[in-house]
């Protein structure tokens, strides 16, 4: 009953005109950002966050969440029609989706992706609704050691799982924590690494860094490529699925949903890994695995369900623990703190409007998205015709306005510009970028937890191993960090499987 009461509260908030508008804006922008190569959800969320500065935090969160899961829908359009993944989470969709399009079945591919996304997205929000409160209650017993290990686990997973070279991944994460150290020390109030610069006392703004790395950096990198997008044409009538399509897709969507939600909940793993695993799973259990990659509809349904379900999963640790597991959710956490919310298990008790309003908006947003992505696909395809040379100018303009709106300082804009150059160089050298943003947001919290833990134990690092939950997490961190490193030293060649992800 408590659950229904909470949902009722949530819907009352999510259904106010302003919040509905922000949900709609979020999912439209999300779909566009997902569809357009050259701009992703991290940049999208960071650039558009200032739109909600004049509003309350719930509206901001509804907007950001809409962009986040909307991007999962939109990425499909580009994957199927152009064979270019709009996001890394839709790479697997290109395999069978584009093949279907070549055989004139682009419509069914888009439809099943939209339906699979809707089922998975909605079901993952149901799971989020059910699990959130019990998890938040369980997390109340977590102390600084558990939090430190959870944050380390998320960072280690994100840095190591997606990086072709693990060392580069860990270097990125360390760089993020190092940037996070800049500013007044929380405990002793001593200014660190500020070099007498007053603007640095508050630390380096995560938004300026995120927009620089993901917005400006991506634009610079894209200016090197000149790709012409030439989408395969579809009409509304083509979108209709036949019975056979639906029948064979049911299983993959169901399995993709569960898998995606679970993977999404894990710190550091996310939509990309979820879609990859789900595709691999379907191929393994299929009666005709040889058909995968030639345009089979299961190969579209499963990863599309998985990447959407992962967004609901990723919201679980964000809302219940206050610990994000990806670049996008890290920006959301930073935004919550900008708005003066205290993320963590107490959020459900202290700010029920915020949490339940956001969760309820995700139900509404998914309904909006399935309609948008079936009926308005031609409109989004039109957006793909905008030349990148024009789009790039707009992205730059929005980056500047967005960062400037945080606290109206041109100093932050310089940080954005420098981060943009760093992001460009990192892309060229294939350093993963998301760990920096996650580490920058988590860094100050990690330092506080570390120092509190050591104060509690009077300097003994054993505290991380004597508390059972902390010990389990610590072992996982070590396994994630060092197993691949050791393996790459032992084996002459780097592991091929890990590189393909």
């Amino acid at each position: 009953m408590e659950l229904l009461h909470n949902l009722q509260l949530g819907f009352a908030i999510a259904l106010t005109p302003t919040n509905l508008l922000f949900a709609l804006l979020g999912v439209i922008v999300g779909t566009l950002i997902g569809a357009l190569p050259g701009i992703g959800p991290v940049a999208g969320v960071s650039i558009l966050l200032p739109l909600a500065f004049g509003m309350d935090p719930t509206a901001a969160m509804i907007l950001m969440a809409g962009i986040y899961y909307g991007a999962m829908y939109g990425g499909t359009i580009t994957s199927v029609l152009i064979n270019v993944p709009g996001e890394s989470s839709t790479v697997m969709t290109t395999l069978d989706g584009y093949q279907m399009a070549l055989y004139g079945r682009a419509g069914p591919a888009l439809s099943i992706a939209a339906i699979g996304s809707f089922v998975a997205g909605t079901f993952s929000v149901v799971l989020l609704t059910i699990m959130a409160v019990p998890l938040a209650r369980a997390a109340l017993s977590f102390g600084p050691p558990e939090y430190l290990m959870l944050m380390l686990l998320g960072l280690a997973t994100l840095s190591v799982l997606l990086a072709e070279n693990k060392v580069k991944g860990v270097l990125s994460a360390l760089l993020g924590i190092m940037i996070g150290v800049i500013g007044l020390d929380v405990i002793s109030a001593l200014p660190r690494f500020t070099f007498g610069e007053i603007e640095l006392l508050d630390g380096v703004g995560f938004l300026a860094v995120a927009v620089g790395l993901f917005g400006i950096g991506e634009v610079l990198a894209s200016l090197e490529r000149t790709y012409k997008l030439d989408p395969i044409k579809t009409t509304l009538r083509d979108l209709i699925l036949n019975k056979q399509d639906l029948k064979v897709s049911t299983g993959p969507i169901a399995r993709g949903t569960i898998l995606g939600f679970v993977v999404g909940m894990l710190p550091g793993a996310g939509a990309t890994i979820a879609s990859f695993l789900s595709y691999a799973l379907e191929k393994r259990i299929s009666a005709h695995p040889e058909k995968f990659g030639t345009g089979t509809i299961e190969g579209v349904a499963a990863p599309e369900a998985a990447n959407n379900a992962s967004t609901g999963g990723a919201m679980v640790p964000l809302l219940t623990l206050g610990i994000p597991g990806s670049g996008t959710t890290a920006v959301m956490l930073g935004a919550m703190m900008l708005f003066g919310l205290q993320p963590g298990p107490l959020l459900f008790e202290k700010n029920p409007d915020f949490v339940w309003g956001t969760i309820a908006s995700m139900y509404i947003g998914n309904v909006m998205l399935v309609i948008l992505n079936i009926v308005f696909v031609p409109v989004f395809v039109r957006a793909l015709m905008i030349p990148y040379s024009v789009l790039a100018a707009f992205i730059v303009l929005f980056c500047i306005v967005g960062v400037y709106s945080v606290n109206f300082s041109t100093f932050e804009l310089w940080i954005m510009l420098v981060s943009g150059v760093i992001g460009y160089v990192m892309r060229k050298l294939e350093f993963p970028i998301a760990p920096i943003v996650l580490a920058l947001v988590l860094g100050p919290m990690m330092e506080t937890s570390l120092r509190q833990s050591l104060l509690m134990s009077q300097g003994s690092f054993a505290i991380f191993l004597t508390r059972p939950i902390s010990a389990i997490l610590a072992v996982l961190v070590l396994v994630f960090l060092f197993a691949p490193l050791l393996l790459s030293f032992v084996a002459k060649k780097p592991l091929p499987a890990a590189e393909e992800i």
Binding site: S188, A392, F394, L397
Partner: protein, 145 residues
């Protein structure tokens, strides 16, 4: 090779970071001071930079310098943004934004008529949404209203 050069740059960076970090009280594990984490971070960063230097891994294919035309686009974009940042507080958002869009569209898109139409239009639209509707105080500058 590019990765090795990057590794050396990162190593130099970590040395500088460690040098600055060593100026803050380190404390002890039982009472960690403000220099505690920075020193650990700097040391770990240095070690991993050396690992990268020794084993740079397979060279990524795209580590080629951008071709001339692309390099011009990239540098021009960076310069345009830098100039815009300098001008923003002096000339305000409307003028600066229009100049920036004009410059970017002319360099990247090379259709002068489109640029002249689109630049002021987009900036006024953004200004209207942010300043008038959402009440974000963008600097008005010389064209205040």
């Amino acid at each position: 090779m590019a990765i090795r050069i990057a590794a050396v740059v990162l190593l130099v960076f970590s040395a500088g970071f460690l040098w600055e970090a060593s100026r803050y009280p380190f404390g002890s594990p039982g009472a960690p001071g403000p220099g505690f984490l920075p020193v650990i971070l700097g040391a770990a960063f240095a070690v991993l930079s050396i690992v990268l230097l020794v084993r740079p891994g397979s060279a990524p294919e795209q580590v080629l310098p951008p071709d001339r035309a692309a390099a011009v686009r990239i540098v021009a974009t960076l310069v345009a943004i830098a100039i815009a940042i300098v001008l923003l507080d002096r000339l305000g958002f409307l003028v600066t934004g229009t100049l920036l869009m004009l410059a970017l569209l002319l360099v990247l898109d090379r259709r002068p008529i489109l640029a002249v139409v689109l630049a002021p239009l987009s900036v006024v639209l953004v200004y209207a949404v942010f300043k008038v509707w959402l009440r974000v105080p963008l600097p008005s500058g010389v064209l205040s209203f």
